[in-house]
Amino acid sequence: MDSQATELQDEGCYVGLTHDHLNAQDIMDRVRSPQAGAIVLFAGTTRDNFDGKPVKELQYSAYNPLALRTMITICKDMRAKHGLKSIAMVHRLGPVPIGEESILIAVSSPHRQAAWRAGEEALEECKSRVEVWKREEFGGEEGGVWRANRDGLPGEKIPDSAPTIPEDSGDGPFGPVIRPRRPGEKGHGAVVNPKPGQQD
């Protein structure tokens, strides 16, 4: 794969990474189809605070070839699973000022229900898997912090004492794990959301 590439296409699927402004009209036109009865567009925009703490600017970086590969895999899965006509996903990189779009996902399908569901699921898959990183700049002496989507907390190691999913059981603390384990996954440790006062 060309490691300089910033977009990939496959039947009914388009993914891209760009340092430019994102354009909602462009991505909608990519999925437009006479066989579609609905286009659902999701636009993720950059928020001015994290838990009340003011954020001055966001910086996104990516492992481009791997991020594009993961994005196209998600799009192909969503297209097949929800019977979409078409799906497109574009992520912005570099500095993104507050209030601007950092990600656009557009899906088209014959009927609206599938489009709503696919749009939601595509975003969740993207946030949990695509190799893109967000740095929140607080300004002044505070600097910035690399965010981690899995827990809404900065990217810190989860302590060994945190609850873990037994390797053999197939069941997690919240019931069965419904998707197969991915290679390399154990490196991230268990996905937990520690809450104050809830630790053993």
């Binding site: 970086s61 990183w133 690399w146 989507n149 827990d151 190691k157 490196g187 991230h188």
Partner: protein
Amino acid sequence: MVPKPPKGHFNVLYFASASSFTSMESESLPAPLPLRKLFETLDEKHPGIKAKILNSCLVTVNLNYVDIPEKDDDPDQVTIEEGDEVAIIPPVSSG
């Protein structure tokens, strides 16, 4: 753009927190290297990176995720070869 590694070396790419910790985006290390030795090799170059960063990171070799063998006699041992592209993948945060 990451330059090709010199002869007898592989590249390791750093992203996000790993890049902040090392103050670099990539570096070349001597190949071959058993994958299970990767973290300790990096920790020798960047003291503290294993506990602070690597233990919560995933690893890819040539764009494929790999499991780091935990023991020397683990059956699936992988060796990082000359010219390979290894990447340290911290927890992601797109969107």
